[in-house]
């Protein structure tokens, strides 16, 4: 049974180690912790004996805030949780509420959602790759990945008016029809992306320093990974072939053909391989979505839930009434509870929404992959060098916004 870490508060507790072991504090302001993660380590020379993550430095009480907002007002809050994958947060929350409402979403909205969620995954993986390589010491890759990420952010800006906090998906569809040149832009972007990924791979895969820092480091066996609730690319890097997009499809993913990359290496290198391959698979999904993009509306036909178009609101009495009602009173959601999960860039993201029949959610619980992955940190680092901790933190791809919420 893997250990999740015991608190290291003062003196080292290992047997007969009183004089040799040292307690080291790492973070919360440490560049390689990707935010405000604090680790307390007990080290024997340079070998990690125990490691204990202290989280909560970014706790904002988002779950509590959700309880005092209308259902539609929660959407912008979800962006701020995993701030590197905004569309995935929106999607998961909207799907959960739509499940509560039993609302059917038009085909075009579903496809655009898949398209943008996959772009979000590429965005998230690009940031991971750049910062992970930078932690290891390969600074160049960071500049390259951020060049491509910039184009994704520009696409997001064209769609929603915002680069990072998009809030583009709404309960019942999308905020508005995307701009006319959007699909051409995305097509142009993904035409060049495969060779860019080859470029990163050329910089890193054969690089002896990068290889030696990752190969055989941070071993996580499949049994430990499942026991510690690890999900996503970290789980697949440990040889467990499970992807929610394929195995429990949501939001129309059953219509797309893609491969789920798995690596049996169980180390940081395995996770690197899986994520790099996942970006290529996302490109395939985006290509299929662009080729088969259906026409039609992007909002469901539910005037009491979805805000009317601006023009209609100004000219039609009913639309004006609906708009006024939704903005001032919200809409009631039938009582019940749902747990909706999606495969985000980091792993299984889940929204547990409980409704008591009123216009405000009674409880919104967010299950984010980083929180669980952090539990596996000690198992991966024990008995390794202190410098490997940095490589392992990079390889599990955490965002502190989603851990502390």
């Amino acid at each position: 049974m893997p250990d999740v870490g015991t608190p290291i508060l003062q003196a080292p507790t290992a047997e007969g180690a009183k004089d040799q072991h040292m307690v080291l504090n790492m973070g919360p302001q440490h560049p390689s912790t990707h935010g405000v993660l604090r680790l307390v380590l007990e080290i024997d020379g340079e070998i990690v004996v125990r490691l204990y993550p202290e989280v909560g430095y970014l706790h904002t009480g988002i779950e509590k805030t959700c309880e005092s907002k209308f259902y539609q007002q929660v959407v912008p809050l979800t962006d701020r949780v995993d701030y590197l994958g905004p569309m995935a947060n929106n999607l998961c929350y909207c799907l959960a509420v739509e499940k509560l409402l039993a609302l059917e979403i038009p085909e075009r909205a579903v496809w655009i959602r898949v398209l943008l969620t996959e772009l979000t995954r590429i965005n998230s993986h690009l940031i991971w790759l750049g910062t992970h390589a930078m932690d290891i010491g390969a600074l160049t890759v960071f500049l390259y990945t951020f060049r491509e990420r910039e184009e994704i952010l520009r696409i997001f800006e064209a769609v929603s008016g915002q680069r990072m906090m998009t809030s583009y998906f709404r309960i019942g569809g999308l905020a508005m029809e995307p701009p006319l040149d959007l699909f051409d832009r995305i097509q142009k972007f993904i035409n060049t992306l495969p060779e860019k990924i080859d470029e990163y791979s050329n910089l890193l895969t054969g690089n002896p320093i990068f290889r030696n820092r990752l190969l055989g480091v941070g071993i996580l066996t499949p049994e430990d990974a499942i026991a510690l609730a690890v999900t996503g690319p970290t789980l697949r890097g440990s040889g467990v072939d499970f992807d929610l997009r394929r195995d429990m499809p949501y939001s129309g993913y059953e219509k797309f053909q893609f491969r789920v990359p798995v690596s049996n290496r169980c180390d940081c290198w395995g996770r690197y391989e899986v994520r790099l391959e996942e970006m290529r698979e996302s490109i395939k999904i985006i290509q299929q979505a662009l080729d088969g993009m259906p026409g039609g509306p992007v909002k469901a036909d539910a005037p009491k839930i979805i805000l009317p178009d601006r023009e209609k609101m100004k000219t039609q009495m009913e639309a004006l009434i609906h708009h006024f009602k939704i903005v001032t009173e919200g809409f009631n959601v039938p009582a019940g509870e749902v747990f909706q999960t999606i495969e985000s860039g980091h792993g299984t993201m889940g929204y547990y929404v409980v409704s008591d029949g009123t216009a405000k959610p009674y409880r919104v619980h967010m299950r984010y992959p980083g929180f669980a992955s952090l539990q596996a940190l000690e198992t991966m680092c024990q008995g390794r060098m202190l410098a490997d901790v940095v490589a392992v933190i990079g390889s599990i791809d955490i965002v502190l916004g989603e851990i502390d919420r």
């Binding site: 509590k64 510690l228 609730a229």
Partner: protein, 168 residues
Amino acid sequence: MAEAPLDTIAGKQAVLEKMPDHPAVKAVAAWKAESVVDALYDRGELSITVAPENIVEAVAAMKDAGFNAYEDMTSVDWLPSEPRFQLTYHILSHAFKQRIRIKAWVSGDSPAIESITSVFPGANFYEREVFDLFGIRFEGHPNLRRIMMPEEWVGHPLRKDYPVEGYR
């Protein structure tokens, strides 16, 4: 307003009779059907309510039945009703590609339940979070300390009687 979907199956007896092929229902029937308090199949999700003293047994039975991957646990505060706290566990099966929700209710004064970390070590942080934000104690948890709030914090923020703004 949209109606709740029609394929809702409410009640323990109805679920046991109408869904005998569902792997989780089979597991429940094989474990001991009489300790299930309630069951509900709603919006494609199966929930099983058990008595709080049976929670570890129930979770272990599910694990033996193939629900191998612990996913999530949290609590809901139903103030002022009694029992006040609803604990919700979500467990996934990689083999069946199904998820099950196990619920248990604990009382409002000095709420406590047994920890499931002996079955699923991955529940460690989640139980600490519920302890921190709801004040529910988990008996047998290896390290039951606050995780989000500072150690010296007074009160449990996600309880319904904890104000969203102003002073406590």
